[in-house]
């Protein structure tokens, strides 16, 4: 019961923060709303029992991605008036809450009329997270290492200063 209430409140906050991140005018505010959404998501993940995923979510998304994002924003800084003039955010994204309300109502009507139920919670499987991550999914770790390598190469190729650039 207690868990249910916390999850409902967190889901509402998550949706609200994501909506504000998409619809906000200034990029800095969008970044902060995104960080708050990450924090809320990690609370939900913790309540569902995914402890390790919650920790990585709050440290990587809410921390690392926000830092990268804000440094990108400051490296490509435009004045406030230029941003307002070029990107008429209010006009573009104004349609979004209406769209979301429609989709939500459609989903609720579909669910009630067809009697959707998700399966009930099953027994906990025998493997702990440790054995699964480090032993069974070793291929994913190899893939992640390759991806991090590509990221490093990308930064060195794309952002190095070159004298012969026009």
């Amino acid at each position: 019961m207690f868990m249910d209430i916390i999850i409902y409140i967190s889901l509402a906050f998550l949706l609200f923060f994501c909506l504000m991140a998409v619809m906000s005018h200034s990029m800095l505010r969008s970044a902060i709303y995104l960080a708050l959404a990450s924090a809320t998501l990690s609370v939900i993940l913790y309540m569902l029992g995914a402890v390790w995923a919650a920790v990585i979510e709050v440290s990587a998304c809410s921390g690392l991605v926000t830092v990268i994002f804000i440094s990108s924003i400051s490296l490509s800084k435009m004045g406030k008036e230029d941003v307002q003039k070029l990107f008429a955010t209010k006009k573009q994204m104004g349609l979004l809450p209406v769209l979301l309300v429609f989709v939500g109502i459609a989903l609720v009507i579909l669910a009630v009329s067809h009697g959707f139920t998700l399966p009930s919670v099953a027994q906990e499987a025998a493997d702990t997270f440790r054995t699964v991550f480090w032993d069974t999914r070793q291929l994913d770790i190899l893939g992640q290492i390759a991806a991090v390598l590509v990221g490093g190469i990308a930064v060195s190729v794309l952002l190095r200063k070159d004298e012969s650039e026009k």
Binding site: H114, G115, F116, T117, L118, P119, A125, D135, T136, R137, Q138, L139, D140, L142, G143, Q144, A146, A147, L149, V150, G151, I153, A154, S156, V157, L158, D162, E165
Partner: protein, 485 residues
């Protein structure tokens, strides 16, 4: 068995080793010899693919599971099938062509090119070797990131624009695939190939069936975006036109096929008998064939015409896949190989023309046939192979696909695919006429034939197309004797 294990493990370990070598040795030494380093990897991959095929045949195995790392017994992480061996051979062949062209066209940033090519190889080999759908997704992301950085590598305005368009649409596809995977995971307990199957679609409540069908739609859409099928093809011409030609060879020759078509192979293999999947793949296929050919008719940039031609040929491969029969599967795999051969020939010709004349707009060219005879000849052979004229390799693969369509009931589609060959011949002949025949404009009067590794590549690829085409019946008889047809 141990020998087979180590040869098969070399698919992943060899690019990793070359990556380390490239970064540890001093930069001057490596940059002078980069083509030997990467060419050696590509040749070893081709040799390994062929030898694994014969070794598996000798040992009588149909599939082979192996592992590289210290692992729990009984949970092999990698698996090889004959279909994935053809893909691995094509990867090696196209990488070799790309390296031989990059020898001439890549002047700066050579070590970055080698690094990115090695990560691309790790990603593509990983995709074809795994036994698990989520690992396929991880390596798919690695392939996407590597190709994205390869396009943007030279930092011109057009290159950055092409790569941004590619990245946005590719990310959309990646999120589609991830969401679809999570819905499948909701029903089964894991995402490895053994646990997913057609049985998944039965015996569940209404909501789960809806979610499973939604996941099939999402995953198919995601892989079709990556393959460049219509109506998701809008990134393909821009990315191919703006990248350096050696990167375009990689993209069109193998990346769209591994990232897109191989995923659809896996999907069709796991969800056999789902009628909706076959029908939708057939619809997307025929739309790609016709729309790609029609759009190619009005282009004026050499590489853009070839890029739209790729869209059209991917449509043929999807048509062969949608029949669900073994003949269609073999036709699609054969078309993957012959498309790799003739498309890389056309891109090599584009590189040769660009090197010698400095332009790629076909309105500015003409009459190059007398001045660049080798290029003109290989381009003509590639055109005949694409249009499906015997005895080249393209004829056999198209024949198998159309026969598969005819025998599995949708004769109308077979007729359409046959008639679309006329359109294929049309736009390619237009390209040939404008570039190689006709009158030479004055500013191109002193153009000479391209020399060195590009000319060697053209000759080798023409030979491959012709020889495989002439000996294809023997290959079919051999496969039939092994019981694979």
């Amino acid at each position: 068995m141990n020998y087979l294990n180590s040869v098969a493990a070399s698919f992943i370990l060899l690019p990793v080793a070359v990556l380390l070598i490239n970064n540890i040795l001093p930069k001057q030494f490596v940059e002078k010899r980069f083509q030997y380093l990467t060419g050696a990897v590509a040749l070893c991959q081709m040799a390994a693919a062929l030898s694994v095929f014969f070794m598996m045949d000798h040992a009588g195995l149909r599939t082979y599971n192996f592992t590289i790392f210290r692992n729990l017994p009984g949970s092999e992480l990698f698996g090889i099938h004959p279909v994935s061996l053809v893909f691995l051979f094509c990867i090696g062949m196209v990488s070799l062509v790309s390296v031989m062209v990059a020898n001439r066209t890549v002047d700066a940033k050579k070590s970055a090119y080698v690094n990115l090519l090695m990560t691309l190889l790790i990603g593509m080999n990983g995709m074809t070797l795994v036994n698990d759908f989520f690992s396929l997704y991880v390596f798919l992301d690695v392939v996407g990131l590597s190709s994205f950085v390869l396009i943007a590598m030279f930092r011109s305005r057009r290159a950055l624009e092409g790569s941004i368009k590619y990245l946005i649409i590719s990310e959309l596809a990646t999120v589609f695939i991830l969401t679809g995977l999570s819905f499948i995971f909701m029903k089964t307990g894991s995402l490895s190939y053994k646990d997913i199957g057609s049985a998944v679609l039965t015996g569940s409540s209404t909501m789960q069936t809806v979610l499973l069908y939604a996941s099939l739609i999402l995953i198919t859409a995601g892989f079709c975006v990556k393959a460049g099928a219509v109506p998701f093809h809008s990134w393909l011409p821009d990315a191919h036109q703006s990248a350096d030609t050696s990167v375009s060879i990689l993209l069109s020759g193998i990346v769209i096929k591994i990232a897109g078509v191989y995923g659809l192979f896996v999907l069709v293999d796991l969800f056999k008998g789902v009628k909706a999947l076959q029908v939708s793949l057939a619809a997307i296929g025929i739309l790609s064939v016709v729309a790609g050919a029609l759009l190619a008719l009005r282009q004026t940039h050499f590489k853009r015409i070839i890029a739209y031609s790729s869209v059209s040929q991917i449509g043929y491969i999807l048509l062969g896949l949608s029949t669900g029969t073994t003949l269609g599967l073999i036709g699609s795999v054969a078309h993957v190989f012959s498309h790799a051969a003739f498309k890389t020939t056309l891109f090599t010709n584009a590189a040769a023309v660009h090197e010698q004349t400095g332009t790629l707009e076909i309105d500015e060219m003409g009459g190059l046939q007398s001045r660049m005879p080798v290029t003109a000849f290989s381009s003509a052979i590639a055109t005949l192979s694409t249009a499906g004229i015997p005895p080249f390799a393209g004829f056999w693969s198209k024949l198998l696909i159309i026969m598969a369509l005819w025998t599995s009931g949708s004769a109308v589609l077979g007729g359409f695919a046959l008639c679309a060959s006329i359109l294929t011949a049309a736009y390619l002949l237009r390209l040939q006429k404008k570039v190689f025949f006709g009158k030479t404009p004055e500013h191109l009067a002193s153009v000479t034939e391209v020399t060195g590794s590009v000319r060697l590549t053209e000759i080798l690829l023409t030979a491959v197309t012709s020889i495989v085409g002439v000996f294809f019946p023997f290959i079919l008889l051999y496969l039939q004797s092994k019981g694979l047809i």
